[in-house]
């Protein structure tokens, strides 16, 4: 069924179709309409879930951590400072390997206060041990939420589904909404091996020593470092799982097929613009215009940021002459985080394209298509002159 709704509602209907059991959330712009919609689903009886209107984001994630440990499929959503207020909880959720799914309607981070879109909130949370997925339109938001539960529960790692605040969260566009039966065929009920259960009492997330230690059966139990290494290994392993789940999703729903990067006119491209979120779609219009002028350029949207699909990125980019990384965030005092990751992925390639870094749209600064055209043109024409220093697009002072 095709519906025209906001990105937040596209997310909410995905959460509903996933038969989520516990939802906890605290209002923050621009995520709020998503959780309003979920509370409407729950109160109206459309979704038989527990909805906990908590007193803070920190508590929202606490509820999810506990309910997931207790064996219930759990969801929350937030933005910006709300995400950052959860920070220690996010580490906790990853370290305890809980398959929580969280939507983040991306928003710039204060100070100064801003409610508008950029990616600084989630990019600053890249090292948690969470999986981070980015969406470019409402169909991707809706599908990614459903896929995220399957992914999280397969690899026992929480998943963040990120989409641009306002640009996607508040914009209405059509998307295909599947039937409940299709989703049920794709996503089985959550059935963890261990959960809070008096019949098999276990103590979760106890203090863990630096060294290994025997358990009560005489087997060696890991120390902190082994547990952390396992999280990393499984995150790397999740790359394969993302591809597999994308395939399974495609078989049932007929959508997908580009799990890591979504290329547009990249096959013969000398130059590739590389970015995340709705920006990758906006650049398509610029690519079309530049192609008409004879420039062999394409654009690629990265859908998985953590774990970083370095092999896919290298394979996709190594053969072109130049890569222009456009980002709505910055690792302050250095470069764009995505830029650094792309360069790192390309380091082992036999031939390496030049890589430039453009910072765009911070705090909702309007990204004009003409500005993107100018930036891409400048990058291509000034390969040598532009170094590693981030270039700023759309500055007015």
């Amino acid at each position: 069924m095709h519906v025209i709704e906001s990105g937040n509602v596209a997310a909410a209907t995905g959460v509903k179709l996933a038969r989520t059991q516990v939802i906890a959330a605290y209002p923050i712009t621009p995520q709020t309409p998503l959780t309003e919609k979920l509370s409407e689903f729950v109160e109206g009886g459309e979704l038989p879930a527990e909805y906990i209107p908590v007193e803070s984001e920190h508590s929202a994630m606490a509820v999810c951590i506990a309910s997931s440990t207790a064996g219930a499929r759990s969801f929350t959503a937030t933005s910006a400072n709300g995400l950052l207020y959860m920070n220690e909880q996010l580490h906790w959720a990853a370290g305890s390997r809980l398959p929580i799914v969280m939507c983040v309607a991306n928003r710039g981070v204060g100070a100064p206060w801003t409610v508008w879109n950029d990616h600084q909130d989630t990019i600053s949370q890249r090292d948690l041990g969470w999986i981070q997925l980015y969406c470019a339109d409402h169909q991707q938001i809706h599908d990614t939420v459903i896929k995220a539960f399957k992914l999280a529960e397969t690899v026992s790692i929480p998943v963040m589904v990120c989409y641009d605040g306002y640009l996607l969260s508040h914009t209405y566009m059509p998307f295909e909404q599947p039937d409940q039966e299709q989703v049920d065929a794709f996503l089985p009920p959550f059935a963890p091996e261990h959960f809070l259960n008096p019949e098999a009492p276990r103590n979760f997330n106890t203090v863990t020593l630096p060294d290994v230690r025997p358990d009560i059966h005489g087997n060696t139990a890991p120390g902190y470092m082994e547990i952390r290494k396992a999280l990393h290994s499984d995150l790397r392993g999740a790359i394969g799982e993302i591809e597999k789940i994308d395939g399974e999703f495609g078989e049932i729903f007929g959508r997908g097929g580009e799990p890591f990067v979504e290329p547009y006119r990249c096959d013969d491209a000398d130059y590739v613009a590389f970015c995340m979120g709705s920006l990758s779609y906006q650049i398509r219009d610029v690519v079309d215009a530049m192609r008409e002028e004879g420039t062999k350029i394409g654009v690629m949207g990265l859908k998985v940021y953590r774990p970083f699909p370095d092999v896919a990125v290298r394979d996709a980019l190594a053969k072109c002459k130049g890569v222009i990384v456009l980002e709505k965030a910055l690792s302050y005092g250095n470069q764009g985080a995505l830029f650094a990751d792309v360069k790192s992925a390309l380091f082992s390639a036999e031939t390496r394209p030049f890589v430039h870094n453009y910072i765009v749209g911070l705090g909702g600064r309007e990204i004009k298509t003409e500005h993107l055209y100018d930036a891409l043109t400048e990058s291509i024409n000034n390969e040598a002159a532009i170094g590693d220093e981030p270039q700023w697009v759309g500055l007015k002072m």
Partner: protein, 101 residues
């Protein structure tokens, strides 16, 4: 390639005694019960059991006479202090032989 098994390696503990080791080794003073003074022991009837009630470590049994698990007793002396008949005395641990320990 997709990974077949995702090892769910987390900190998840199973109940067992002696997480802190044989905490009886912490003891400096050992509670020793004089069954001639202990009320349940003397009367042969269930009564008192203050030593059992107040023990922070649950190492005293609610039996006639009460027994103390010296493997885990930390020697705090609460039982001796709360015994209404003065049946428990705290004795220097050093005065016991290896076998007695």
């Amino acid at each position: 390639m997709s990974k077949e098994e995702f090892c769910n390696m987390i900190s998840i503990s199973e109940p067992g005694p002696g997480d802190g080791g044989n905490t009886g080794s912490w003891r400096v003073l050992r509670p020793v019960l004089d069954t001639t003074k202990c009320i349940p022991a003397k009367t042969g009837k269930p009564s008192c059991f203050n030593c059992w009630l107040y023990c922070p470590d649950g190492v005293v049994t609610k039996t006639i006479p009460p027994t103390i698990d010296y493997t885990y007793c930390k020697g705090c002396g609460i039982c001796a202090e709360e015994c209404p008949s003065g049946a428990i005395t705290m004795v220097d641990e050093a005065s016991f032989t290896k076998e007695e320990k």
